[in-house]
Amino acid sequence: MKLDRQKLEALLSRVQRNQALPRRAAAPVARAPSAFAAPVAAAPVPSLELDEPGMDSLQPPPDLGRSELDLDEAPPESGSAPVRGVGLLSHDLEEPPPLTPPPESGEEPAPKVSIPRDPGPTMAQLGQTISLDEGVGGPLELDEPPPPPSRRGVDQPRVAAYSEELPLPENAREELDRVRLGQSAEVGPTVHTRPVLSTNVVDFVSAVRSYQPESFLELLDASLRL
């Protein structure tokens, strides 16, 4: 990735200015062992060799995965600055963290979305409308073509022809009524007939089954009142 010329010049001037200053050893920072801390500490930070490659060949360290070097940032004075580990997933580095609005900011008004009304098909889509004249043709011929003559020369009756002497089917009238009423063959009326009255005493007794005597003498008296 190419760096801006101005940034590189600023970097060069900063390096030259820092070379004049006395060097200061960085204090070791005790950090808790972390799965992400070790690779960061071991990762060599490449120094910028301004003499050898051209500006176009300068690239950020591939392990850091940062898209752009921000050279304007001040270098950290100590190791307490948060350093992002190289063990993070690539999508974690590529995607910026979600920005949470401060609580005092309140809800952001939702942007108005205007849905354009459907103007309907365009003339190009419709094409040209052709008005058709109503036909004045003759009646349609739906009859089947006459069967070919028999080889034996005997006239056979046509398929649609029937004899007047054929007896009607037994359910012809029911079928005709059913068609007139618009009923289909699968859906028909359910006829409930009155059940035959039974003279069995069991059925009769069931009608007075609600009688429940509480004692034997009550039942005995009821039987004596018959």
């Binding site: 005493v201 009769f204 007075v208 004692s215 034997f216 039942l219 004596l224 009142r225 018959l226």
Partner: protein, 181 residues
């Protein structure tokens, strides 16, 4: 608590004395049924009915003594237990009570053949003495059992006439119910 029927020592065979006694100490007699049937046949219906009601009266008295005042309130199952127990001790079959609507029917299975009239008299005597009701029983021979329809003396005549006309127990009960309605 309602006392249960207790058949313990109901009949004691004292072979040394050659006697049969019940728990009250009364003498009993073990005779073949066919001889008793012959005797009843020769004595006639009235004598047989009197004999049967006397035998049933003794049963009713024992039930009354056993149940006491509770005999008025106990349900059908208690009477089935006590009346059937005494009948079983006599060897007159297995008793059960049936309720056909409002009609009470006593069914006895395993009774000696030809004993329906005697059974009717025994049960009537037991109910008269034990329950204090004047009843008459109309017997219907149904397959291997005897069904005794418990009625008042006035209604029993109608039911008996219907039975003689060939009506079954169910038809008689049905017509008696229609008469009530």
């Amino acid at each position: 608590m309602t006392p249960r029927f207790d058949p313990t020592r109901a009949i004691v065979y004292d072979l040394s004395r050659g006697q049969l006694r019940d728990e009250e100490g009364q003498l009993r007699l073990n005779v073949p049924f066919f001889l008793l049937e012959r005797l009843c046949g020769q004595a006639g219906p009235e004598a047989t009915r009197d004999f049967g009601q006397g035998l049933g009266g003794d049963i009713g008295r024992r039930i009354r003594d056993r149940l006491g005042a509770a005999a008025e309130q106990v349900d059908v199952s208690v009477w089935t237990e006590h009346l059937g127990g005494h009948l079983a001790v006599l060897g007159l079959g297995d008793l059960s009570l049936e309720r056909w609507g409002r009609a009470l029917v006593i069914r006895i299975v395993g009774a000696p053949a030809g004993a329906s009239a005697l059974l009717a008299a025994v049960i009537a005597g037991a109910l008269q003495r034990g329950a204090g009701r004047n009843v008459e029983l109309v017997a219907f021979d149904v397959e291997d059992s005897v069904a005794l329809l418990v009625l008042s003396p006035e209604t029993a005549g109608r039911a008996r006439a219907l039975r003689e006309a060939g009506e079954s127990l169910g038809r008689v009960v049905e017509q008696l119910h229609r008469g009530v309605a």
